[in-house]
């Protein structure tokens, strides 16, 4: 338990750092101290370690990813190296290769880099939803319904919307951003902070506006996890309309290259 405690310590401190956002510049510095080791460096590093040591480190990386995935928080390479990989950084590429293989072969998950600049990774589900309903109902996160509505609005409006449109839409659905919601709590925090940290949404300031205004776009996680085809089907049912009648959206939903097209809407 003392070990657990210590680890939770390091974790919460890294999380609060991210929340404040003020030390973003310093975080970037953290990452520049890590340079991807070369193939020959990895080979030499592997020779110094026993297979059991490499397996142990791989297991720790897998666990770290699984814990982060429960909250849908992307894993930053800098955090991963600093808190988990540590002195094994010379064989980082080999450990990531093995962790990725484990997710694929054991868990049916795929590890993907959603942000090549900041080196952020997430897990997505490789298994399609089954035809029949599963006999075991997994607990679902009610916030995902809220997210689906917001992503639908953004998609139908051409990919980017001013924040007021989102707040007004939610208000019409009796989810008033000005009030504390029974299920979701602080709506603005969930939408403009939590969904953004999870990389479901992007929330960017519109330049030269007074007072300050922001706009929403799809985040990188939404791009790989949420199927636009499914959103159009949902809109079609809602409006009793053929999804093809939204020709631009229909083209976009079906134009995405096969390799990155998400099969399942979400887990």
């Amino acid at each position: 338990m003392s070990q657990r405690k210590r680890l939770s310590n390091t974790q919460s401190s890294s999380q609060s750092k991210r929340q404040s956002g003020a030390s973003a510049a310093q975080e970037e510095n953290d990452d520049t101290t890590f340079t991807q080791p070369s193939t020959s460096q990895v080979q030499r590093g592997m020779q110094k370690l026993t297979p059991a040591q490499v397996d142990q480190k791989t297991a720790e990386v897998v666990q770290y990813f699984l814990v982060k995935d429960q909250k849908k928080i992307p894993v930053r390479r800098a955090d991963l190296v600093k808190h988990v990989v540590k002195e094994y950084r010379t064989i980082y590429p080999e450990i990531m290769k093995r962790a990725s293989r484990t997710f694929d072969q054991v868990f049916g998950l795929k590890m993907i880099e959603i942000d090549a600049k900041n080196h952020m990774y997430i897990l997505i589900n490789k298994l399609e939803p089954g035809d029949g309903a599963s006999p075991i109902k997994s607990p679902t996160n009610p916030k995902m319904g809220l997210l689906f509505v917001i992503l639908s609005v953004i998609f139908m409006k051409g990919g980017v919307v001013r924040e007021n449109l989102i707040w007004n839409t939610l208000k019409k659905l009796r989810v008033d951003p000005g009030e504390k919601h029974e299920e979701f709590g602080d709506i603005k925090k969930v939408v403009a902070d939590e969904f953004v940290r999870q990389r479901y949404l992007e929330y960017v300031r519109i330049p030269h506006t007074e007072p300050v205004e922001h706009e929403f776009r799809w985040g990188q996680r939404a791009d790989v996890e949420i199927s636009k085809t499914k959103i159009l089907e949902f809109m079609g049912q809602l409006h009793e309309q053929d999804p093809q009648s939204w020709s631009q959206q229909y083209r976009e939903a079906h134009s995405v290259s096969g390799s990155t097209q998400p099969g399942s809407s979400s887990r």
């Binding site: 657990r4 909250k71 484990t102 868990f107 049916g108 089954g130 075991i136 997994s138 607990p139």
Partner: protein, 247 residues
């Protein structure tokens, strides 16, 4: 050596990860569902074999799907457990330091108690003795609700017990931490919290309530299996797993 897994195994594992614990009946139907979804062979009597294949692949990650009994109704459950203390675990990501300390104090109270329970009053009182960061009364109540919601504790009329999932997952830890105080069921040899105790002071063996029900079922005069003294407690009825309703 790890055995080959298919998508049916992976789907089963994903469901276990999302739920933490599933009863035996649920695991059987889930096994069938996963096999049918991926068109693989399903043999009703091969559930444990199917789970062994998953476990052989989970072992390098120090995870396991483990079977255990509910102290409430005697039914079998399968829980996905984490066997390591050196890496981040599910709980440490969900709870703050002082919250984990309170959980440990609650566990202390439950382990040293006669009947495997801790009253909410005692838990609230122990919140005053936290060394990390004190919790207010309302915060403690909120935390207890979360621990129940996350299936670590069970609550019944203000009395808290360790959940089946908690006992299955924490058993090695509890055995190591509480060597002296630990009670083991005379029938099934697993840790016993909620149990009946032989009143012969030189004997004093413990038996889980569901094990009592099974052991004494159909015996005219209940006697202690260890010392042969009369067993003075009320014998509970055997609770059958609810078979799925077929209409």
């Amino acid at each position: 050596m790890s055995r080959q897994m298919g998508d049916s195994h992976r789907r089963f594992l994903q469901t276990m990860m999302a739920n933490g614990i599933v009863d035996e009946q649920g695991a059987r139907t889930l096994y069938q569902y996963c096999c049918e979804t991926h068109n693989t062979q399903h043999a009703p009597d091969k559930l444990d074999d199917f789970i062994d294949a998953i476990n052989s692949n989970l072992q390098p990650m120090f995870m396991q799907i483990r079977k255990g009994m509910s102290e409430d109704n005697g039914h079998q459950f399968y829980a996905l457990v984490n066997m390591t203390e050196t890496v981040v675990t599910r709980m440490s990501s969900d709870y703050a330091d002082n919250e984990l300390e309170l959980f440990r104090k609650t566990m202390d109270l439950i382990v040293v108690s006669e009947n495997g329970t801790a009253s909410s009053t005692d838990v609230l009182n122990s919140a005053d003795t936290l060394t990390t960061k004190k919790l207010k009364k309302s915060e403690t109540e909120h935390l207890l609700n979360r621990l129940v919601h996350d299936k670590w504790l069970c609550e019944n009329r203000g009395e808290y017990t360790l959940s089946t999932r908690c006992i299955i997952e924490m058993e090695p830890y509890i055995r190591a931490m509480y060597q002296e105080q630990i009670k083991v069921c005379h029938i099934c040899h697993n840790i016993a919290f909620q149990c009946q105790i032989c009143e012969n002071s030189t004997c004093g063996i413990k038996i889980h309530n569901p094990c009592v029900a099974r052991y004494f079922k159909g015996r005219a005069e209940p006697r202690c299996p260890a010392c042969e003294d009369f067993w003075p407690h009320e014998i509970p009825e055997v609770r059958r797993p609810q078979s799925q309703s077929r209409r």
